[in-house]
């Protein structure tokens, strides 16, 4: 079932423009017209009209409909992009988010008129806190990386409130790239901690690096090789003994729902990717949402406002003197909060536990089926994703990129490639719990077919993809000579 491409359609809407064509006719103004040139200072007036596309409504509809036919997403194809949890997004979430009381509520409506929305936020924060074993949750961050940034700022505020100026944050070399990025932006020096060959934290190396200048240790559990960190409790205790806060990157939370909780493992902070674990749309269908949970000692530093409950009344509390402040417009990506809450309530505790059980089962099924044809990065069992290396294939001239491209021809989105960085020619496969065994089998068949082609007919792999709207893109040229801005051609 290959992806049959619509003929490539590569127009920009600007290129459809025809002078004077409009999509909408505005009614005559029912107030006196004013001349902007008389109201605004000269320096703010533009000389030329903006280069906006001039198109009809029909042009717009046809343009975007054609583009949408080239979409390649989880609604059309298996999408085993490791670390991204590309699972099915239940349509009931969309129903709930479109309820007029949520969808048409003005973000600046008075609290008395927004009680339902505030109640939902309050309840979701409590549910997330319970799931993660945390004491309080802020729903404000708009994505995982902003959740990390928020968490690190709270850790910083906590240390400063105790009169401690710590300057470093420790991060394993297997981490998501966002970890060092958010940490650096929060003003810390990032110190990389080497992992053991099997991807686990080198506890002895960590112990040697921990000192009173370290503010936090940031780690993903399960780790980016899809393995649970066996000594995690020892690690969090080791950190706490040195006054070091421990941050859990919650990107892989889909593996541990109802099985264990970051708070119980000793973490002080963790974030939740609602667009991964909690089925809100991902990527172009976003936006994301990255709530962050904390233990009680960090609660005073949460971003403002915090939703509070007094009897049956909900309110926004802005009077929090130790707060790190506000970091997102309005109240976070509220529509995503409605979807995530819907998901949690429809699944219930047993349902969420089954999510992780099945996510783990699916990943192990794939790992087992591929282990003869690819080198498994770390011998299993794994958690919700598995990492295989194409180092065997590379010796025959076929790289992880080549395999990824060939998969597109065979009807699958590609796994994450070249991540984690500590695995050579990495292919990181996360099937999620929402895929049926038939789909997993078709994917494994395709992977095994590619391994056979590598030995017998590598040309077909090097030529891939053949069936997509565009062929193999020149990544190097795109990065070295990016052409990012449309300009009007004569």
């Amino acid at each position: 079932m290959a992806h049959t491409a619509a003929a490539a359609y590569d127009k920009l809407i600007f290129e459809l423009s025809s002078p004077g064509r409009v999509a909408w006719s505005l009614a005559d103004a029912d107030v006196p017209e004013a001349d902007a040139r008389k109201l605004l200072p000269e320096k703010h007036l533009r000389k030329d009209a903006p280069a906006l596309p001039e198109v009809s409504e029909f042009d717009v509809v046809r343009h975007y409909s054609r583009l949408s036919r080239m979409n390649y997403g989880v609604d059309t194809h298996f999408y085993p992009l490791g670390s991204c949890t590309m699972k099915y997004n239940p349509r009931i979430n969309e129903d709930m988010a479109r309820l007029p009381g949520f969808a048409r509520l003005h973000p600046l409506a008075a609290e008395t008129l927004a009680q339902g929305a505030l109640e939902l936020m309050h309840a979701l924060a409590w549910d997330l806190a319970e799931i993660a074993g945390m004491d309080a949750v802020s729903l404000q961050p708009a994505a995982g990386a902003q959740g990390e940034f928020t968490g690190v700022l709270m850790i910083r505020a906590y240390h400063l409130s105790r009169g401690e100026k710590r300057t470093k944050v420790l991060i394993p070399d297997s981490a998501h790239g966002t970890n060092p990025a958010s940490t650096a932006i929060a003003g810390y020096e990032v110190v990389e901690v080497k992992s053991l060959p099997n991807g686990e934290v080198d506890v002895n190396a960590l112990a040697r690096t921990l000192d009173t200048d370290v503010a936090a240790f940031m780690i993903t559990v399960p780790n980016t090789l899809g393995m649970f960190e066996p000594r995690i409790v020892e690690i969090t205790e080791l950190c706490h003994a040195k006054g070091v806060q421990v941050y859990m990157d919650g990107a892989n939370l889909n593996a541990i729902l109802g099985i264990t909780r970051p708070g119980d493992l000793g973490f002080d902070v963790c974030h939740f990717n609602l667009h991964k674990t909690f089925t809100t749309p991902h990527g172009g269908g976003g936006p994301g949402a990255g709530p962050v949970g904390v233990k009680a000692h960090l609660e005073p530093f949460l971003p403002v406002p915090v939703v509070t409950k007094d009897g049956d009344a909900y309110a926004l509390d802005w009077k929090r003197p130790k707060s790190i402040g506000k970091l997102q417009a309005f109240w976070g990506n509220f529509g995503m909060l409605v979807r995530a809450y819907t998901y949690i309530r429809t699944m219930g505790p047993d349902g969420l536990r089954a999510v992780s059980d099945n996510a783990i089962l699916n990943a192990n099924y794939i790992m087992k089926r591929l282990e003869k044809d690819y080198d498994v990065a770390v011998p299993g069992p794994c958690m919700h994703e598995c990492v295989v290396s194409a180092r065997r294939q590379k010796k025959l001239g076929v790289t992880a990129t080549d395999i990824a491209k060939r998969l597109l021809d065979l009807g699958f989105y590609a796994p994450s490639t070249y991540f984690p960085l500590i695995v050579e020619e990495a292919l990181m496969i996360e099937p999620t719990e929402t895929e049926a065994k038939e789909t997993l089998d078709q994917f494994c068949d395709a992977m095994i077919q590619i391994a056979r082609e590598t030995e017998a007919n590598a040309a077909v792999i090097h030529d891939a993809p053949l069936t997509t709207p565009v062929r193999r893109l020149d990544q190097t040229k795109a990065a070295r000579e990016p052409d990012l801005r449309w300009s009007r051609r004569p």
Partner: protein
């Protein structure tokens, strides 16, 4: 096995260092550029900046990954390879030659002896392969 010239010293982070009088020229090894793939961007410190042995002094970005560059020795940057901002591919084409990155005036002569010899670096690479 990647090319490891005999007249250089090496770091475990895959930088090479070359003694030139009282200066040390620094770049990344053939192994590093092979692992990175096509280099698309190189960020270097300014002339006059201080660098510290085993601390990062810049960034190299390829189509696969962004990696820190680590200084083999401490000292002051006295020269940088300005060509790399326009032609980062030089790192792939001539990593031990025109693909050099910075020249350092070392502040601690003892650090030179801590660097890996060509033979030690080859052994290190052989270990990493398994």
């Amino acid at each position: 096995m990647a090319n490891v010239p005999k007249d250089l010293k090496y770091t475990r982070e895959h930088e090479w260092a070359k003694q030139e009088g009282d200066r040390v020229r620094v770049g990344i090894t053939a192994y590093a550029q092979e692992q990175l793939g096509d280099v698309v961007f190189v960020e270097l410190p300014k002339v006059g900046a201080k660098v510290t042995a085993s601390k990062n002094f810049g960034v190299v970005e390829s189509v696969k990954a962004v990696s820190d560059l680590f200084a083999p020795v401490s000292g002051e940057v006295v020269e940088i390879n300005g060509e790399l901002s326009q032609k980062p591919e030089t790192v792939n084409q001539d990593t031990y030659g025109r693909g050099w990155m910075i020249v350092v005036k070392p502040s601690n002569g003892g650090e030179w002896d801590q660097l890996l010899t060509p033979q030690q670096y080859e052994e290190f690479l052989a270990q990493a392969a398994h």
